[in-house]
């Protein structure tokens, strides 16, 4: 089992192969549909992003409310393909990692290869279990979006599988 940390370095990304099981520690940022739309608009309009995405990893996740006494509620991945249209521009802007579930478009796979990034799969439908790997959670942008706000999560040994590596190779069997 490989251990990796964020921000993701070129070297660390280069040694990951599709299918590898890895444990990720460090900061990751949640962002799903509406946050992706906004981030794209900000980039297109030349505005400053509410977070620095260079070298960072985005987690496609909208957690539940936080139960009393917990750090975070259930926080599993949502379907990645809904973010496909917004992803190449984020990669062009320096994003290096994405965490979600399911297949990505050909265009995203090409962009991952072009910008030497990586797409991870998280345990799908295991939001309660994954909450155990989160050490800190805080909304850092777009709080008005509720569960779709951008949360900064500090994770320790968050279990992932490499879905698409920096060479553009994918883990899913092709038809």
């Amino acid at each position: 089992m490989k251990k990796i940390t964020t921000p993701l370095t070129k070297k660390e990304i280069a040694r990951l192969k599709a299918g590898d099981e890895v444990l990720l520690s460090g900061v990751i940022y949640t962002a799903r549909d509406q946050a992706h739309r906004r981030l794209n608009e900000e980039i297109k309009n030349g505005r400053k992003l509410p977070l620095n995405i260079k070298g960072e990893a985005i987690y496609y996740c909208g957690p539940t409310k936080t139960p009393r006494g917990k750090i975070i509620g259930a926080c599993g991945p949502t379907t990645s393909s809904r973010m496909d249209a917004f992803t190449p521009l984020l990669l062009k802007s320096g994003l290096k990692g994405m965490i979600g579930k399911g297949v990505r478009s050909e265009e995203v796979a090409r962009a991952i290869k072009k910008y030497r990034a990586v797409y991870f799969l998280a345990l799908a439908g295991c939001g309660a279990l994954l909450s155990k790997y989160v050490r800190k959670a805080k909304a850092v942008a777009y709080p008005e979006l509720g569960p779709e706000a951008i949360y900064k999560l500090e994770v320790k040994d968050f279990p992932l599988i490499v879905g698409i590596d920096a060479k553009g190779r994918g883990v899913y069997a092709k038809d």
Partner: protein, 273 residues
């Protein structure tokens, strides 16, 4: 005539929302455990183990099984000998909101599907049936949208062969592929009208899985599990935990077939008042 207060209904719905989202259905957990035992692909087995562990953590620590606590779908069967004092629909929605707040579930509903402003808890999608008797049967079904997005409907010719229908269902599961949290439970509705077929498909998901499976259900289950999609779409023979088919009479000119897929976190809870 027996009387039931809106408040009692609200409290029951609230409890059902909490139970459905925190405690995985016994039949689903049972199916996951037997899949774990029979799965031969090592990675698939480890993922199934994590899914089972997730259910146990959710129940013990009162954390939602999945962060997508669904679009709350509520079925109510109201006996004709029972009078509701107050507004049944308001009571159901108030119960949903109370339960979702109490268990820190997710507010995943947008009031306007086009403007998509800040998410809230309600309204639920509510189906009310009139039945005999003096009871009210309530079922809360939080439907996750990753799987709901994979719904399909096809209006077949009345002369279509069963094999064509099976192929359509199989293709719907293939199209869902790794995206919607396999292993799936597949609900199929055959007959009625376009909308009613989809309603049947959804209702089919409420039936206990692996119980009294018909020949068609067993054959579909086998075919789907031969697709090698597997848990998280990473291969294995556990692609589907169960197939439930519901049918209804239809028109001489048509044969509607609807597929409503559930992720492995198929959640529902029922109470009879």
């Amino acid at each position: 005539m027996k009387i039931i207060s809106a408040d009692k209904i609200k409290n029951a719905v609230s409890d059902l929302c909490v139970r459905a989202n925190l405690v995985l259905r016994g039949d689903v957990l049972g199916a996951l455990k037997s899949a774990y035992l029979s799965e031969t692909n090592n990675r698939a087995k480890r993922i199934l183990e994590a899914i089972i562990r997730n259910a146990s953590i959710a129940q013990k620590e009162k954390i939602a099984i999945c962060q997508d606590t669904g679009l709350p779908y509520v079925f109510a069967e109201l006996g004709n000998g029972l009078h509701v004092r107050g507004d049944l629909i308001k009571a159901i929605n108030a119960g949903v909101e109370a339960g979702y707040r109490k268990a820190s579930l997710r507010n995943s509903v947008v009031r306007n599907p086009l403007q998509r402003a800040r998410p809230v808890y309600t309204p639920a999608v509510i189906h009310i049936d009139a039945v005999k008797g003096d009871k009210l049967k309530l079922t809360v079904f939080p439907k996750g949208f990753g799987a709901e997005n994979k719904s399909q409907i096809k209006m077949f010719n009345p002369t279509a062969a069963i094999s064509e229908i099976r192929k359509f269902i199989l293709e719907a599961v293939k199209a869902a592929g790794p995206d919607a949290c396999p292993p799936y439970v597949v609900g199929v509705g055959i007959g009625g009208t376009a909308d009613y077929a989809m309603y049947l498909a959804k209702k089919a998901l409420l039936r206990r899985i692996s119980k009294g499976a018909s020949g068609m259900e067993r054959a579909l289950l086998k075919e789907i599990n031969n697709l090698n999609i597997g848990p998280m779409g990473l291969g294995g023979k556990t692609t589907c935990l169960g197939v439930n088919v519901e049918t209804y009479p239809t028109h001489i000119a048509g044969l509607p077939v609807a597929v409503n897929i559930s992720c492995h976190a198929l959640r529902s809870a029922t109470a009879i008042l």
